[in-house]
């Protein structure tokens, strides 16, 4: 079961320059991110604080903010797309 994770420009330098990464075998958003962190360790500290998403990091599952769902515990269906974006835009 593969999930596509889209990396924002601000994080690509610590993700080997990748704009997209496919991860396999993830049941939840948190697991998908764990798989991503196994590949690119520096991303963990950039995105998480005390095991939770940092205040200014948004993660969207197929366009929906995971904070409206079950956060990192949200189940990810096969073929889902996870988008990581900075939260400080708009207004």
């Amino acid at each position: 079961m593969s999930v596509k994770v889209k990396i924002p420009t601000q994080l690509r330098s610590v993700a080997g320059g990748d704009a997209e990464v496919d991860v396999d075998g993830a049941e939840t958003v948190g697991e998908a991110l764990e798989h991503l962190f196994e590949r690119h360790g520096e991303l963990r500290e950039r995105m998480l604080e005390d095991g939770e998403l940092r205040r200014f990091v948004n993660v969207y599952l197929n366009g929906e903010d995971v904070r409206f769902l079950d956060g990192l515990a949200t189940a990810v269906p096969a073929g889902a797309e996870l988008t990581i974006l900075p939260a400080v835009a708009g207004g």
């Binding site: 974006l85 900075p86 939260a87 400080v88 207004g91």
Partner: protein, 420 residues
């Protein structure tokens, strides 16, 4: 220019004055840092301002531009739309109605596209041009759409304006007319914002004023504070009531006053800052009521569409400001918003949009509760124009339709005791 760099509001990491809005380390927002010339005395600083043009560029010493545009008119194509220098109106009848002594209305509907957004866009667009961008873009709830489309037209730049597809028709028409690329997105403002955040990473020559140019753009809101202080005779009012959508305007107004108090340009002390939200989209007011220091995002459902941001970027800073200034963040429902529009219109002659209804209704509520002391001087920040949200006042008043005959007037109007 007094601006020296960008600093992360969270981890304080420093950056140059670049096209960057997010801290690489912690994703926190970046803010412009200044080092102002302390050798100028207060009189000299005030004279420099007074000698400036009748628009926001009179405050260029405090804005992050290398070469501020200066006066407008004959050089419009180089300077863009001249924003600012809007009226500050003494509102005695509104004050009487609310049992207050001194209330002022800062009417920012008197900007070129009828909202405060002309200020931020003027600064954002000028900085974007300095950094070599050739396309102007934004995610907007409507007012920003008007401002970006018009500013781009004045500057001869191409523009892309992205809005939620359900915006008020007036705001859509008043955007498209400028010849922009108008994109209606099926979704909420927060969906539009997410799309623009993604797009800004993919279009390197596009300046999204409220995404990748946001640190510069946001500084434009400080000019509201400078103007209020200058118009009050270099004095800071006791209390400000201001709407909150992303929280940027609310926090930057406070920053503007603080800067001038630090430099001695304005007298007084930092104002009490009250924030106003619509009940149908009140993530900041809810966090305030719950004593939280971060906001939980919401799905907006309110007639105040210009304030319908469910995930406010500056929410945590707005909460912090309300706390440290001794203010509050309140919300009002749609009926109160309509009543707020009417109250302002009937007592001051200023017709504001729904956001102004939110702000006026919040002032009324704070006055009634006694949160605002009758002796405080209060400035009500009116950010936009009533003609943009006409549906909000439809069917809120009665009118007569008669034949053009005197007896028709006497029978049908005067006999029912109206029109006196």
């Amino acid at each position: 220019m007094g601006a020296t760099g960008l600093t992360c509001r969270e981890c304080k990491a420093p950056y140059g004055l670049e096209a960057r809005y997010v801290c690489d380390r912690c994703f926190g927002p970046l803010e412009v840092a200044y080092e102002l010339d302390t050798t100028l005395d207060v009189g000299e600083r005030r004279r420099r301002i007074q000698a400036g043009p009748q628009n926001i560029w009179r405050y260029s010493d405090f804005l992050p531009l290398e070469a501020p545009p200066g006066p407008s008119a004959r050089t419009l194509s180089r300077t863009g739309l001249p924003a600012g220098c809007t009226p500050l109106i003494r509102a005695d009848r509104l004050a009487d109605r609310l049992g207050l002594r001194e209330v002022w209305v800062k009417n920012d509907a008197a900007n070129p596209t009828h909202s405060f957004k002309d200020r931020v866009v003027a600064v954002g667009a000028a900085r974007a041009r300095e950094m070599g961008y050739d396309v102007l873009a934004c995610a907007s709830t409507g007012n920003l759409a008007n401002a970006v489309a018009a500013q781009a037209a004045a500057l001869g730049m191409e523009s892309y304006v992205l809005i939620p597809s359900d915006l008020e028709e007036q705001k859509v028409l008043a955007t498209g007319v400028y010849g922009t690329n108008l994109i209606k997105v099926r979704g909420t403002y927060d969906d539009v914002n997410r799309l623009c955040t993604e797009l800004s990473g993919e279009r390197e020559n596009w300046a999204f004023v409220n995404v990748n140019i946001r640190p510069y753009y946001a500084e434009g809101s400080k000019t509201l504070a400078y103007e209020i202080a200058e118009q009050l005779g270099w004095r800071v009012p006791d209390t400000i009531v201001c709407p909150i959508a992303s929280g940027s305007l609310y926090t930057k107004i406070a920053k503007g006053f603080e800067e001038w108090l630090d430099l001695g340009i304005a007298e007084g002390s930092a104002p009490v800052m009250h924030g106003a939200q619509a009940r149908g989209c009140s993530p900041v007011a809810t966090a305030w009521d719950d004593g939280k220091d971060v906001c939980r995002p919401v799905k907006p459902d309110t007639i105040a569409k210009s304030l319908a941001i469910g995930n406010p970027a500056d929410g945590p800073y707005a909460l912090d400001l309300a706390r440290r200034s001794g203010g509050s963040i309140a919300s009002v429902d749609d009926e109160e918003i309509r009543a707020g529009i009417r109250l302002l219109a009937e007592t001051t002659g200023v017709f504001t949009e729904t956001a102004g209804g939110v702000t006026t209704a919040t002032l009324a509520k704070l006055a009634e509760e006694g949160t605002i002391d009758p002796d405080e001087s209060v400035v009500l920040v009116i950010t936009g124009e009533g003609l943009k949200t006409l549906d909000a006042v439809r069917d809120t008043f009665a009118s007569f339709e008669i034949d053009a005959r005197l007896d028709s007037f006497l029978d049908e109007v005067e006999s029912v005791g109206a029109a006196r």
